[in-house]
Symmetry: C2
Subunit: 113 residues, 2 copies
DNA sequence: GCATATATGTCGTCTTTCTAGGTATCGCGA
DNA sequence: TCGCGATACCTAGAAAGACGACATATATGC
């Protein structure tokens, strides 16, 4: 079994996290679970990637954090999108789509005369 | 004009190069041009990215190089796909498509009840 | 003689991810 | 009660890959 979970593509994590947080404020642990669930187990986000990413996004002013009680009754750090974060997310999505399109052009290219 | 060319997504360059070489043996300089042209100027591949990538792909046994005369009459290093390289390319493409699908799931996700 | 396009390459830096560890609390079953 | 798995946070170090800047050389045209 060479069955290891999918590595993330460098640079996509920020967009994915912003998008998941846009679905509703959430804490780190839950964000990782959501990403895994929504992607049908394709993405497996490691804590060593996620927490630094959250701090990065907070530093940049795209996320804002508040300690609250989680669903299970413990303290957890809930992140929500700032206005800047929403803009950033939207531009990242647009860029992702353009990038996908460009990759698609390459992949569908055929030998020209 | 904040018009700088698109950064590559880390990890996609290998696939794109393999795919372009699959269109027909080509040398570094021409590979960069082709990538730019086919992607309609979206990708601008830097020399500092491309040449190390070509050496990497050659080391892995996915590309094979021969010095030949280029279209302009000079010596250039022509790369072509090996059998291993073709397999690698195909699996990378499959993986790219699965990854795109997974990202799509995230981007299209909506707040569930 | 010089700029530009062609063509290859290296080096140092930066960013991001992974691996591998650490802390702590809670609920559950043995 | 003891340990374990799940929940929840975190960091440090290493690896990878892309970038910018630089270096080199030849051919063509002005």
């Amino acid at each position: 079994m060479t069955e290891s979970k999918q590595e993330l593509l460098r640079g996509t994590l920020d967009m994915l996290v912003l998008k998941v947080v846009a679905l509703g404020p959430s804490h780190g642990y839950a964000i990782a679970q959501r990403l895994q669930q929504i992607s049908k187990e394709f993405f497996q986000v490691h804590q060593g990637s996620l927490y630094p990413a959250l701090h990065r996004l907070e530093d940049k002013g795209w996320l804002q954090a508040k300690w609250k009680e989680s669903e299970t009754g413990r303290q957890a750090k809930f992140y929500e999108l700032t206005r800047k974060g929403r803009k950033k997310m939207e531009s990242e999505v647009v860029n992702w789509e353009r990038l996908c399109g460009a990759v698609g052009l390459i992949l569908r290219a055929e030998e020209e005369s």
